[in-house]
Amino acid sequence: MNQEEQRSHEFETHYQPYEQSQETISRRRFLSYTTGLLTGAIALLLGIPLAGVVVGPLLKKKKSPWVRLGGLSDIAPGVPAKFTYSFRKADGWFEKTFRGTAYVIKPKSGGDFTVLSNVCTHLGCGVRWDSDQQAFLCPCHNGGFDIEGKVTLGPPPRPLDRFTHKVEEGVIFIQVREG
């Protein structure tokens, strides 16, 4: 008889009488339930921070910072003025500089500025102002937008996006969205 068999034999000899008593059964059940509870508590204590580490970055609030575009002094009425902007954005532990282009249109008749994104709403190419055709033209799929950003030509499904903007001390700022 090897050791294991010997132990089982010894166990059979000495333990079984315990197994049959109600006291033993209730004690074992108590220990089982308590073990289960404690194991659940351990799983929670560990599981919550671990889940949080994975899910946390996804739940981070996206900021909408104000980004400087440029001075207003050089904008002629009725002609879209092209501005490039850049802003720093956190990418995990990185901070990267993101750049973009916006068009500022000062109406000939006066009134508030319009700031349009240069990203075509079709598939994301960069539109450019064509002064001959007086339209924003997309070189990718021949999409076209008028000076107010409305679709006039081609496949774009909706007008050019507009930036929320403000003017402070002669400088125009736009609000960009992270993400």
């Binding site: 050791q3 089982s8 089982s32 073990t35 351990i42 949080g52």
Partner: protein
Amino acid sequence: MLRRILKWIDEQSDLVSITRHFLEEPLAKGVGWPHVFGSLALFCFMIQMVTGVFLLLYYTPTPDHAHETVSFITHELPFGKIVRGLHHWGASAMALVVGLHMLQVFVWGAYKKPRQVIWLLGVGLLLLTMGLAFTGYLLPWDMKAYWAMVVGTNIAGAVPIIGEYIRVLVRGGDSVGALTLTRFFTIHTCILPALLIGLSVFHLFQVRKRGITPPWRKVGDEENVEYNQRFYPEQIFKDVVVAMMAVALLVFIAGHYGAPLERVASPSETGYVPRPEWFFLYQFQFLKYFPGKLEFLGAVVIPGIVVLAMLLLPYVDTNPHRLPRKRPIAMFLGIGLFVVITALGVMGLASAPKQRELSQQEKVGEKLFLDLRCQTCHGINGGGGSAGPDLAGATMNDPSKLRTLLRNPQAFNPRSIMPKYELSSAQMEGIVAFLRSIGKNSQMPKSPAIGPKKPQGHFAEEWLTQHKYEVRKDPAQCSSCHKPQFCQTCHQNRRPDSHQKQWIKSHFGTAMEKPEYCAVCHERSFCTACHQDVLHTSQWLTEHKRGLEKRPEICKECHQSKDFCISCHKGAEPASHGPNWINTHKKSATRSCNVCHTQDFCSSCHTGATPQSHDARWSRTHGRSAGLGCQKCHNDSFCQSCHKVSMPHPRGWRSRLHQPQAQRDPSTCGTCHDQSFCTRCHVRSKPSSHTSKWRRNHKAAVKQQGDASCQNCHGPNSPISCKSCHGLDMPHPDDFALRHTRVASYKRDSLCTKCHKINEFCVKCHEAKDFQK
């Protein structure tokens, strides 16, 4: 439902049966709480595995990003501090629990036959645990990690003959660097965990096969042992209780204290005092007793002997008894080793140089040091900035010099970029006391994180000299964190390299094309201070005449060449130059002609045809107008040709500069000034030459230099003419020697004797008896 699922799984794989068989292992009477350490060690390892995997989601094993990612996990990632803390403190817990488990097995004699292999596997697991601990704490790439690796790999190099190869192999090169980090990362996350899992499974298998040792039974006497409990639930309950306590403690420590993270590794920082983690402190202390060539003994030989002894223990110790009192030698050696290791560890901990407690005044200074952010430029024993000298090595300790340095750093070095500080006396005394308290064991005080996180690039050693390139690449990068005053803090005393001498003329190109460059360092008001009224908008071409009228001198800052104006105005006169301009221009002549016209332009008309203002009396009256517009037409040499000195008089002329010129050539003053002009001052205050003995000695000066200099001030019309003192016109006329008899006979005593002694001067011509009455 659950039973049916389990039954199906068991039918397919026997998994449930195997598990049940494992859990229902009978355990001997007496097996209980002392036997929880094995399961606890396994549980700690599982915590390390799980938390390690989750940390891998964000950690990057490169020197550029390792510290940054660990800092991100610790400070920015939600729950990151807890997960990293669990991993850090879990490692310490695992090392401790593995040691306790081995100690329990030793004391219980459970290593003896037939369980020798279990003990051998346990020693292997101990070594793997220490290996995991050693490779793990390099990964944050902070100062502690870096220097621990330098020292640790140098210890590996202490092995004779092959030590150098081992060191290079472990480091991945000659020095601790990127390759060291990646090697240790691979060893820590892949190789050692795989080995440990394999060894643990084998270890558990052997434990299950042989069974847990019945307490205190002699070797070979395991029959008739009472087995009155099962592994599940009796022993597992105890294991889970202890595991629960361990997890609760670890979560508390991780949440409350977090895991430490020192500053990013810097190989050039030699002032850092490295200390290993607590589980290597005994080795650190032990090596102190084996200096120089003996290091190999302490690092490799003796620890190797100890490990060998542990491996051979089950085979060498043939005493069949397991009771401690019946194993005195084994107990003495085992407990003795435990005590020695603990004592060495405590001694190692106590040997760390302690920082002196700061006095109240020094604490005030320390706080001010951090508030003023002095650590940005200055380090203390390496920690901190490198723009300025390290304060621990500072030679200046004199309080008065320190105060002067803080108030005016440029007094010691004109090119210093250190800003000046206006501090109250209490603040000054505090910071001086703190600076004087810094010694070779001092460390940089911990400063709270303020504002946005510092980018990793700012920690590079050459950042101070190289940041200008980053500014040029992307000025928005600086502006996103720093306001212009920040740049001025240093650059007010030292202009950037780009702002050369001619910058005032050449900056307009940059300002037009890339105004964001200027905005990094300058507020808008800085530009408008110059450009106010002269902002070259698109209407400037028609508007600039108004700006010219307001501030004509500002145009010359950029447009120094007259050709610039003439290029437009040649043939196209400004609006101000109307038909009658040639007659009316004199009113504006002193103000703005030179903006466009050189002197030659004016001289082309005015040579031979003086302006109307230059009438007959002009040479006498122009002094009142001089300085207001002479330079428009005349250069300095023109004025000097008459005045013989620079005109108008330079600053300091009245107080100190005119005296030498007046003494050299008094007629120079007479070109413009009459005597009353000089005496207006000199009645009240004499020239410097007129000392207290002047009255007696001026005769020699007059004889030497002539009386011309006297006549400038003391001429016949002056209130203090020579006659007013001498009673006669001075100097004597040429024929006075022949005509003085009449004066001398009546006024000898009142006049002649003022200057001449009778018995010395008069007797040269006269008989002495002539003067006797």
